[in-house]
């Protein structure tokens, strides 16, 4: 066990955990004020629900001893047998618990990413049920295929350094299914739906960018040259993505926007995720730039297709994820990572690219089918969508009986305490309570 590696992966896990509140803010700022809490909840609550499920069963399904390349065995149920000693098959220089908790943070944020597609209209109960089932039926298997020893995609030799397929394509496809199945928001395409607080979205972007260093560099599972080059590639992907999107807007719409720069940075981070540990700096810039432009175009298509992917999960995570997975097959470089492969431009021929295509296709098909099935079942059972009145009044009031902001303190409310009329037993309470009225 190496203390430096352990320190780095533990801190990386903390950074990845921080990404989920960051995502909550990134999404929360883009919705209307009446839905901000409901939107924040759909990310933050995943930290609670998914973490518990992951420890109980998710981890062993993903990383338990391989069963036919498809799923993990139940040996690690409830983290049984997962202790301070490293598990050499998974990570040789850090405690097994460190690897398990690092992976837990990935499992938390992936379903949270999906929520952008059905923002402003899904029942909280439906969200919770969908998230729990999706984690076990979709996320865990795909994570096993791609990352676990024996997983068929890993064995095939496709490369996904930090989750381009497992996290982004996987979530992006589920988002596509969700947007189609739950249907469009009231007034979509007719009424103006303006982000209520872009400063919140920008803060979220900053936190995501910051946490992504743990996501990608931490995936080196040690503090070494590989982690360092993944860190560098990650930052350059984000930077170039921001420039790419801004460039597109400046040329096509005369003005680069704040939301565009934020979106471009995230698009670049998504695209560099699978490639981070396999490419050198200049290709990293190329991948980010490319993702920024492609995603800027992609998000503009949803109106044409009448698809209300509310916060553009498809346009950013699916499109960006595919860009990244394929360009990994183009730019991968054995000189950067001996455990990787050479891509199209490094004399590796189309072999790797082909495997990348297979990995993307398999993830796409599997995630689409199972996600759609789960959504349909949830719709038939608890029902996916809030009522039209609840949608009009907003998720905050209808799902959580709260409001996000109360800047003007104009009373307008009186307390209905159950205890209100009960004679208070304490002497303190006996003292008449002074009121602002007097």
């Amino acid at each position: 066990m190496d203390t430096g590696d352990t320190a780095f992966v533990l801190v990386s896990a903390a950074l990845v955990m921080f990404m989920t509140p960051g995502l909550a803010l990134f999404y929360g700022g883009m919705v209307r004020a009446k839905n901000v809490l409901g939107t924040l909840m759909q990310s933050v609550f995943a930290l609670g629900l998914v973490s518990v499920l992951w420890v109980l069963i998710g981890y062993t399904l993903a990383f338990g001893p391989d069963k036919g390349g498809l799923i993990g065995g139940l040996d690690f149920l409830g983290l049984r047998g997962v202790g301070a000693d490293p598990n050499p098959d998974l990570a040789g220089t850090i405690p097994h618990t460190t690897f398990a908790l690092f992976q837990m943070m990935f499992a938390v944020i992936t379903p949270a990413l999906i929520t952008g597609a059905f923002a402003e209209r899904m029942k909280f109960s439906a969200y919770a049920l969908f998230t729990a089932v999706w984690l076990l039926l979709v996320y865990a298997p795909v994570a096993h295929w791609v990352w676990a020893p024996g997983g068929w995609i890993r064995e095939m030799g496709a490369l996904d350094f930090a989750g381009g397929t497992v996290v982004h394509i996987n979530a992006g496809v589920a988002a596509l299914a969700a947007a189609v199945i739950i249907g469009r928001r009231r007034g979509f395409g007719k009424q103006a739906v303006v982000p209520h607080n872009l400063t919140m979205t920008l803060l979220g972007t900053g936190i995501l960018w910051f946490g992504w260093f743990g996501f990608n560099a931490g995936s080196a599972l040690g503090a070494n040259g590989l982690a360092s080059s993944a860190f560098l590639a990650t930052h350059l992907g984000a930077a170039a993505g921001a420039c790419g999107w801004a460039l597109y807007e400046a040329t096509r719409e005369r003005r680069p926007t704040t939301l565009g720069v934020a979106s471009g940075a995230v698009a670049g981070l998504v695209a560099i995720t699978p490639a981070a540990g396999f490419v050198s700096p200049l290709p990293a810039i190329a991948i980010g730039l490319c993702a920024g432009i492609v995603c800027a175009v992609a998000v503009r298509l949803k109106f044409r297709f009448g698809l209300d992917d509310s916060l553009d999960v498809v346009g950013v995570h699916l499109a960006g994820g595919i860009v990244g997975a394929l360009l990994t097959g183009v730019f991968a470089d054995l000189a950067v990572n001996g455990a990787g492969a050479d891509g199209l431009l490094n004399g590796g021929g189309a072999a790797l690219l082909g495997k990348q295509v297979v990995a993307v296709g398999a993830t796409f098909a599997f995630s689409l089918a199972v996600s759609a099935a789960i959504l349909k079942i949830v719709d038939l059972t608890v029902g996916l969508r809030v009522s039209s009145e609840e949608e009009a009044s907003g998720l905050d009031l209808s799902q959580h009986a709260e409001v996000g902001y109360a800047f003007s303190e104009s009373g307008g409310a009186i307390e209905r305490e159950p205890e209100r009329d009960v004679p208070a037993p304490s002497p303190v309470a006996a003292v008449p309570v002074p009121s602002d009225a007097r």
Partner: protein
């Protein structure tokens, strides 16, 4: 000269604006408001403390108009702001002594 004031549901503002333009209104002033009436409010809960909020968000639209234009304007409000649901709001008309355009000092009809 009259002042027509309409209190409407916020998401109806766009429709009302278009309806008013359609009957020749060239200007209006709107303010965010909260209304109390037959329409019920909502409940908020914070750490178990429950609050009954009786006011619902409204928008208040003010339109200065010639006397003979008023009836048309009120009709435009009725048709464009109506959802058939409780809380659609009211329209009322006040008499106005005079109107002046700040930019030019024009008065009365020319000020609109």
């Amino acid at each position: 000269m009259k002042l027509v004031i309409g209190v409407i549901k916020p998401f109806k503002l766009e429709d009302v604006k278009e309806a008013l333009e359609a009957v020749g209104v060239q200007g209006m002033t709107v303010t965010d408001a909260r209304g109390f009436g037959r329409q019920r409010g909502h409940t908020e809960i914070y750490r178990g403390a429950e609050y009954q909020v009786d006011f619902t968000p409204k928008i208040r639209v003010e339109v200065l108009a010639e006397d003979d234009h008023v009836e048309e304007i009120v009709k435009a409000f009725l048709t464009s702001a109506r959802t058939q649901a409780i809380g659609d709001g009211k329209v009322w008309v006040l008499p106005v002594d005079e109107v002046t355009r700040i930019r030019t000092g024009e008065r009365g009809h020319d000020a609109l």
